[in-house]
C-alpha cells in the first residue's frame, strides 16, 4: 500500500500541499484532478522523493520516503512517468529503458535488453528501438518513458501529467496504452487534466484544490450527484461540459 498522511509542503510562504491524506492499494487506479497549481505534480514529486516536505508522512509498502535509508527501497517499488518525458538524450530507446534495471536491479544485461524490446513492441515502437529521443515524436518519447517505468516492474506507477506536453493525436497514442495498463491490473496514481479519460479508467478520483484534498471518492460518485454536491467540484466539472463526460 502506498499511503500519504497529513502531507504538508510549502515553497517559501506558499503552501502547496496542506494536510493531504491518500492511500493507493495494489490494483487500484486513482486519478488526481484539480486546477493547475493545485499541487497535483508536487504530490507526485513528494511521493517519489524529489521534494522534501515539512509535515506528514509518505510510506510505500511501509518504507518511509523521508528516511534516506528507506527512500531507495521506496523508490524501487514505484516508477514515475514525467510530463516532459525526461529521457536520457544520449541513449537509444532501448538503452533508456534498460539503464535502471541493469544498474539498480543488477539484472543481466541481455535479458533486460530483450525485455525492453518486448516492451517497446507492446507500445508499437519495436521499429524505433534503436532511435535516440531526438529522433522520436513527443508521443513516441512518452511511450518510451512508459516502457522505462514498466521495465522496473513497479508496484505503483506514478504518472505526472504524462500527456500535457502532447498534441491531441499523440495524447491518444499514450492514453491507449494507459488504458491497456489500467485494465490489466497495474496500480496507477494518475495526475492528469484528461478528465474524460480519468473517468473511464479510474476506480477512484481525488480532487485537489489549493493544496487541500477536498474529494476522494469512487469515480462513478465523483461524476454524479455526490461529487457535484461539493461546490468546487461542481464548478470544475461545469467548465468541462463541452467535453463529453
Amino acid at each position: 500500500m502506498l499511503s500519504v498522511n497529513g502531507l504538508c509542503k510549502s515553497f517559501g510562504t506558499h503552501k502547496v500541499l496542506d494536510g493531504v491524506n491518500l492511500t493507493l492499494n495494489p490494483g487500484e487506479v486513482v486519478s488526481v484532478l484539480g486546477a493547475s497549481g493545485s499541487g497535483k505534480s508536487t504530490l507526485i514529486r513528494c511521493i517519489n522523493g524529489l521534494e522534501t516536505f515539512e509535515a506528514g508522512a509518505i510510506t510505500v509498502d511501509g518504507f518511509d520516503v523521508a528516511k534516506p535509508k528507506e527512500l531507495a527501497e521506496a523508490r524501487r517499488r514505484s516508477a514515475t512517468v514525467f510530463q516532459q518525458f525526461n529521457l536520457y538524450p544520449h541513449m537509444t530507446a532501448v538503452e533508456n529503458i534498460a539503464l535502471a534495471p541493469v544498474e539498480v536491479l543488477k539484472r543481466p544485461k541481455a535479458e533486460v535488453i530483450a525485455e525492453a524490446r518486448a516492451l517497446l513492441d507492446r507500445v508499437g515502437l519495436a521499429h524505433r528501438a534503436d532511435a535516440y529521443p531526438a529522433q522520436l515524436s513527443g508521443g513516441q518519447r512518452q511511450r518510451v518513458g512508459i516502457c522505462r517505468a514498466l521495465a522496473m516492474q513497479p508496484r505503483y506507477l506514478l504518472l505526472d501529467e504524462v500527456t500535457s506536453a502532447l498534441d491531441p493525436e499523440m495524447t491518444a497514442e499514450v492514453l491507449d496504452i494507459l488504458k491497456v495498463l489500467a485494465t490489466t491490473g497495474t496500480t496507477m496514481l494518475f495526475v492528469t487534466h484528461e478528465i474524460a479519460f480519468a473517468r473511464s479508467i479510474s476506480h477512484r478520483i481525488v480532487f485537489l484544490e489549493k493544496g487541500e484534498l477536498i474529494a476522494d471518492m469512487p469515480s462513478a460518485d465523483f461524476f454524479s450527484e455526490r461529487g457535484r454536491s461539493l461546490p468546487r467540484v461542481a464548478q470544475f466539472l461545469s467548465k468541462l461540459q463541452g467535453e463529453a463526460l
Binding site: Y88, P89, H90, L99, A100, E103, V104, R148, M152
Partner: protein, 223 residues
C-alpha cells in the same frame, strides 16, 4: 671565425626540442586533465572544505600569469620545501596545475549544461550519484566539453614555450640557440613557428574528430 650556416644536425636539434615540448604537453595534459576532472568530481559531490579549497586553487591558477607560476614553482618551491627541482619537473608541475584549473572550469560548466530533468528521472529510478555521473552526466558532458577542451589544449601547447626561460631545452629554447648561432632570426623563428602550428593543427584535428564521434552518438537532428 663564427660559423653561421645551418647544418643537417640542426634538424635533429629541432626535433629534439619538439619532442621535449610534446612530452611536456602530453604529460601535463594527462596529469592536468586527471586532476581537473578530480576537482570537478569533488565539486559534484559537494565535498565540504575540499570543494572550497579546489575552487580557490583553480581561481588562483586561472587568474595569474603562467610565467609567474613557473617562477614560483622553480625558484620558490625548492626553498620552501627544501627539495631539488629540475627545470623539467618544475615545468611539468606548473603546466599540469594550469591545465587542471582550466579543465576543472570546463568540466563544471559542461556538467551544469545538462538538463536537471533527466537527472531527476535517474534519481527517481534509484540510480546512485556515482552511476548518474558515470552513465548519464559524463557521456553528455564530454560531448559538450570536447570543443572547449580542444581550444584549451591548443592554447596550452603554445603556453609550453614559456618553460624555455627556466632552461628547459624545448622547441623554443632550440630556436633561441639556433638563432644565436646562425643570426638568421626570420628563418629560425618561422621554422619553429611552423612546427608549433603543425602540432596545434594536429591537436585541433584530433579534437574535432573526437567531437564528431561524440556528437554522432547524440544525434540532434530532428524527426
Amino acid at each position: 671565425m663564427r660559423y653561421t650556416e645551418f647544418t643537417p644536425y640542426d634538424i635533429v636539434l629541432l626535433l629534439q626540442g619538439l619532442s621535449v615540448t610534446l612530452w611536456l604537453f602530453v604529460a601535463s595534459t594527462l596529469i592536468g586533465g586527471a586532476l581537473g576532472l578530480g576537482f570537478a568530481v569533488v565539486r559534484y559531490y559537494r565535498v565540504l572544505l575540499l570543494r572550497q579549497l579546489v575552487h580557490g586553487l583553480a581561481e588562483l591558477l586561472k587568474n595569474s600569469p603562467v610565467l609567474v607560476q613557473l617562477f614560483l614553482v622553480f625558484f620558490g618551491l625548492p626553498v620552501l620545501m627544501k627539495i631539488n627541482l629540475t627545470p623539467s619537473q618544475a615545468a611539468l608541475i606548473t603546466l599540469s596545475g594550469n591545465t587542471a584549473a582550466f579543465v576543472y572550469v570546463i568540466a563544471v560548466s559542461a556538467i551544469e549544461a545538462i538538463s536537471r530533468d533527466q537527472i531527476e528521472a535517474a534519481r527517481v529510478f534509484g540510480l546512485t550519484r556515482w552511476t548518474i555521473l558515470r552513465r548519464v552526466i559524463a557521456p553528455q558532458a564530454l560531448a559538450f566539453a570536447i570543443g572547449p577542451l580542444t581550444g584549451l589544449l591548443v592554447n596550452q601547447l603554445q603556453v609550453t614555450s614559456l618553460i624555455s626561460v627556466i632552461g628547459v631545452i624545448d622547441l623554443t629554447k632550440v630556436g633561441h640557440i639556433l638563432n644565436l648561432r646562425t643570426l638568421k632570426p626570420f628563418i629560425v623563428w618561422a621554422v619553429v613557428g611552423a612546427l608549433y602550428y603543425l602540432t596545434a593543427k594536429a591537436v585541433a584535428y584530433a579534437g574535432s574528430r573526437l567531437e564528431r564521434r561524440l556528437r554522432a552518438h547524440t544525434d540532434w537532428k530532428g524527426v
